[in-house]
Symmetry: C2
Subunit: 552 residues, 2 copies
């Protein structure tokens, strides 16, 4: 018989995700933000919804219609959160721009996206002023400030967020007929290589990801959670945590402007945060701060992280504090996650300590709804699941993207034959656990063999004196490339470690030709806007002779 | 700007849900079934997948193509489970027919669905033989038996399931381009009123429901779960538990043919089931059996149930054993669930015992992805959330159906203005908790006021001597209707209770005019195929003078 179809006209929408919090947890404190030092913000979900309605009315008054782009240039505050809810629920497009972009990339992304309005944090105004003359489509600016008097700036015309809200009505009729594939959110990639590339998010992709990741073995959301999302909204829409938290009926603690590890821990203690989310570097710095014993963080039970794999030292640190870790692997193009490793799962009960910790540094199993393969880069065939054969990770599924936004050239390189080619090299363990070795561009090829910088970094990080480590390849006349390690030390260890202190533990674990030729002690490593070490910058510094080889 | 669209061609599919178990939990025991007394079945997910491939090849050989209907007439066994996976993954339509239907409804459903092949359990062959001559489209029969010799039957042509599998290849290339809205599963409603009505399920609706219900506050699936689904596949596809379990990487224990409460408990003990699923009556009978102390069920930690609300007595029973309950409200037309009450949630910690138990008998909060309203039956406006104003529950969302299968007339009565009209009457508590009072057709209207049969039944059930209770309305010359209660007693209490023993506890809790005029002691209550009390049958028996009023 011919295939029959089932009538399914109901569209996946964002509004019901938020409304679950508003309708069924409306009297509960839903939002907290320290925001600027002088101001503290907290409200119920019901009150938050009134502000969201005010914002929608204000946006309408400013001329925003369905399909218009509304950009932001801001930290994770409650006001930024409100924009992230309101704009896509109106059918407009929320475009959080990356405040860590270079001037060139910033101008490119804003002009490419054709943003109509720009919302900007007070302390970030000077950065925008520098480029405002080059922005071709931005018609007006709104400062995200509670201040009565607007600051002096050449950004014009200029409005105040709170003033706009104050004048607006507390009710708004959000559409419930937006197509599920319509453009709702636009995020640009980190832009570490070449120009930024946009990834469009639809209500469909956000709903599917929030539902698909909600289970206990994935992100484990509960209605009693108090969640602090430190991953910036301008980085992968903060993993949609604002939507997942609302949908589950939890509480959101926005960390506010440029939160230091100290700020983060103070907030966890003060608001009894039980669910902390941040890039792995952020989590590591926070845990190192915690070790100093200044805070009582007994409320903290769950950590969600990603960007780079955790190392055993970090896992040990969290393990001994009884924190359940949800470590995810993904990328902007994945909208966001492909796989998760979750600690403390029952099937791990019988594992040796060594195997358990080792596995925690891997990337784990695909999330239900995502298909992941590792394929030989030459033949395109699946690699053997033997923990040895290396291939590229490719993926498709319910939420990975299928294209870059208005960028056919970039699209054709990455999205091919229905699969997203991640550019990550990995092996697969016998039981299917994914183990990322390197970015295709970061892996070190020495004497015709591959050396995993990630494996070396994780091993180096087991030394508790180390704050951060990065291993990268430098050109070599005989071996093509050789590994070089850069490390930063914790304050109390500075000047006290030798190159051999770093290398000795590696000698028993890796083949001789894996051992880095040099160890370079640095004060800071160059970081990307998404808190990954910028290895390209390290390679450039090496080429320019800017990296000193001797002593710490 | 005009609305822009995001490219999203990836279709929601069933195959990846199963493949997550096969690929990443392949060596783990995935399936157990006691099946027929003489045979015990257990295998890994990998082995199960080989059987699924064999079945697909066998079906193809029997002439099954995309869109063809494959019917079953069977209990929850591993073979039936295999059909439930294989048929929709091939793009054919899985139609589990209700073995408890009347002859008339059975013939109607099979002819209406246009089933091509019929798979039948050995012990159910006689039932099918009775109607086989009236089946217009069924071309052949397959007996779900391990037996070497086929039994003698007039069903013809006749094949053996295991023989078909034995001859088939262990590999099969399942399509991965099935449209997400294509018809995959067909279930007919209970048919307690009028002719059966079909509800079609697409891959989309199954995927969305499995993802949407997987969270801790909903169905709480873990990869370490051992799940026993007692709700029959021919009733709402067993809540898709076979898909949710596979997707999560758990283990399935099929209960086998006509499982008694004793059978169920034996299986829980033997296979260390931690997650038990069954209609509320089934759960109640199982718990009553457990009270006898014959089994050690320490593995049991979670119960998922629905069909009718639990009563406080049942909740107490599970509560004292530390079992987390997930009580759901839904219907076939909802594919399946709208709301959940989950016990032992943190926000209940401060509640009084009384409030906690009371809430456990309600229907709880909408599941993320489902919108629920309660509207005045006359005005169509939302009722006040005051725990008093009664209205009809209407719903729409990511998985509730929007039509009956090929039945425009029935569709127009139930699916209107984009909402599914459930025919259930409810109130809403101040915090949004849904509390179903009755089916629209079961509620008792006495002297112009409504009496909730469900509230009376729950109160009666608090007496531990009672096995089951049903209250229904009978015609009355002055008050239009008056309530009558029917009860069955536990074995040891038979003949020992009076009408006043039943009614006395009600007098202090309900207005005088709510108290049933009569209590009728019965040996059994008439049950529907989905284990609900058949109130229409009780009303008919009353009208025909078949219900005796005196003594127990």
């Amino acid at each position: 018989m011919p295939i029959e179809y089932v009538k399914e006209t109901y569209q996946m929408q964002l509004r019901p995700l938020l409304m679950r919090a508003v309708l069924y947890f409306g009297d509960k404190e839903g939002i907290y933000s320290p925001d600027h030092q002088s101001e503290e913000f907290r409200c119920t979900w019901h009150e938050e919804y009134e502000r969201i309605c005010r914002l929608a009315n204000a946006l309408e008054k400013l001329g925003i219609e369905q399909g218009d782009k509304v950009a932001t240039f801001a930290w994770n505050t409650h006001r930024h959160g409100e924009l992230s809810y309101t704009v896509p629920m109106m059918g407009a497009v929320f475009h959080p721009t990356n405040i860590r972009y270079s001037r060139e990339h910033l101008v490119y992304a804003i002009n490419h996206s054709k943003d109509k309005i720009m919302f900007v944090d007070e302390d970030l105004v000077p950065l925008l002023e520098e480029i405002s003359e080059e922005l071709k489509t931005v018609e007006l600016y709104v400062v995200l400030t509670p201040a009565e008097k607007l600051l002096k700036t050449k950004l014009s015309p200029l409005y105040s967020y709170e003033e706009l809200l104050r004048e607006a009505s507390t009710t708004y009729d959000f559409p419930d007929d937006l197509p599920e594939n319509s453009l709702a959110v636009l995020c640009y990639t980190g832009g570490t290589t070449g120009r930024p590339k946009g990834i469009g998010w639809s209500p469909r992709s956000i709903v599917l990801r929030c539902l698909g990741c909600s289970g206990a073995d994935q992100e484990d959301f509960h209605e009693d959670d108090t969640v602090m999302p430190v991953v910036n909204l301008f980085h992968v829409n903060s993993h949609n945590f604002q939507w997942s938290t609302a949908m589950s009926g939890g509480k959101l603690v926005w960390p506010g402007p440029h939160p230091s590890p100290d700020d983060q821990l103070r907030l966890i203690e003060k608001e009894k945060v039980n669910y902390f989310q941040g890039a792995s570097t952020v989590v590591m710095f926070a845990m190192q701060e915690w070790e100093k014993g200044k805070y009582n963080l007994s409320s903290l039970k769950k950590v969600f992280s990603g960007a780079t794999a955790p190392n055993k030292a970090l896992m040990e640190m969290m393990d001994k504090r009884g924190i359940k870790c949800h470590w995810t692997y993904g990328m902007v193009e994945g909208r966001v996650n492909f796989t998760t490793v979750t600690s403390h799962r029952k099937h791990m009960d019988g594992w040796s300590r060594e195997k358990y910790l080792e596995r925690m540094t891997y990337q784990g199993l695909p999330i239900p709804g995502v298909e992941v393969r590792v394929v030989n880069v030459d033949t395109g065939k699946d690699v053997a699941w033997d923990g040895k054969e290396i291939g590229e990770v490719i993926t498709k599924g319910l939420w990975p993207a299928e294209e870059y936004y208005n960028d056919a050239e970039a699209t054709s390189g990455v999205f091919r034959d229905g699969w997203l080619h991640t550019g990550d090299l990995a092996i697969v363990e016998e039981d299917g656990y994914l183990h990322i070795l390197d970015r295709l561009k970061d892996i070190i090829k020495s004497g015709g063999e591959w050396i995993s910088s990630v494996d070396l970094e994780n091993a180096i990080m087991e030394n508790s004196a180390i704050r951060q480590a990065a291993v990268f390849g430098v050109p070599h006349p005989k071996w093509d490339e050789r590994p070089v390690a850069t490390v930063t030390l914790k304050e109390e260890y500075k000047g006290k470690l030798s190159e051999e202190d770093i290398l000795k533990p590696l000698r028993s674990r890796f083949p001789g030709w894996w051992i880095p030729d040099y160890v370079i002690f640095m004060d800071e490593l160059p970081m990307t806007g998404t808190m990954k070490v910028m290895k390209r910058a390290l390679r450039d510094m090496w080429a320019e002779g800017k990296l000193k080889i001797s002593g710490s």
